[in-house]
Symmetry: C2
Subunit: 162 residues, 2 copies
């Protein structure tokens, strides 16, 4: 066996799986690098956390939504959504209107100030995405998105007992 041949040290080394070879590890450190870059940009320019930015992005798209709809749209925990909404309401970037048919719930909408901010943050977000992902061709970016979607489904399935 080549791996037991004392001369073939390089083969043995190459055979050993290293931390840097693990895709989950690569996924993790790359995502952290990208997220930190973006988080710092949102924080310094707009005083928004990532969670708050996500709520703004969805409300700008949907016009209005309840917190449970925001949970579905952002894949964030209901507690995280509640905290982010609370902070945005305090900053008067979003407002709560009573829900027409469910007294427990509210419709959340961007205020005029919130809409102004929305029209500022979305182009910046797209620009940052463009700059960071400029190292990928548009075909590669599309492939990446597709692979991430499949990986997410795969992981969801494995978690829920395949």
């Amino acid at each position: 066996m080549a791996n037991r041949d004392p001369v073939a040290k390089n083969a043995v080394e190459a055979d050993r799986k290293r931390l840097a070879d693990f895709l989950p590890y690569q996924l993790s450190i790359t995502t952290n690098t990208v997220s930190n870059l973006i988080a710092e940009e949102y924080r310094s320019r707009f005083g928004l956390k990532i969670t708050e930015w996500r709520i703004m992005a969805v409300l700008g798209d949907l016009e209005q939504a309840t917190q449970s709809e925001l949970v579905a749209a952002t894949r964030m925990d209901k507690v995280a959504v509640n905290r982010a909404c609370k902070a945005l309401v305090e900053r008067k970037l979003i407002a709560r209107a009573p829900h027409a048919s469910d007294g427990r719930s509210h419709q959340l909408v961007l205020t005029a100030t919130g809409k102004d901010l929305y029209t500022e943050i979305m182009p910046l977000a797209e620009d940052m995405e463009r700059r960071i992902f400029a190292v990928l061709s548009s075909e590669e970016a599309a492939q990446l998105g597709d692979m991430l979607t499949r990986l997410r489904q795969s992981s969801d399935n494995l978690r829920d007992g395949d």
Copy 2:
């Protein structure tokens, strides 16, 4: 302009960038799903946190290392490395030996128990990687790794004032 044509509502909708379209968002939620799946596996089977598992993986590969070498190998903060090492020493999975030429430092090595655990965790880690990434062909997995490396370098450059 098509986007101002009131009839072309679908075109307007399609034009609007949605949260789910942002690659940084996709990267984030996919990584979280994958990481949580793996973290739960390590926790329930071995009582290891991700940070601790990374230290084990590197020490099994390098045989010995100082904390600052572990910082470089894992891309973790020196505080995180110190905490993880402390926990592993308390569990007697790793041990500290005095450093030959630097009294401030120690050489960290796996104990016999630690080596036993190492030979258990690595095949499990590879198996989980294989199961999660089974939705990708080997070519796609290689492409993904390559893209992640480029993205990381791109983000590092942008952060450091490219």
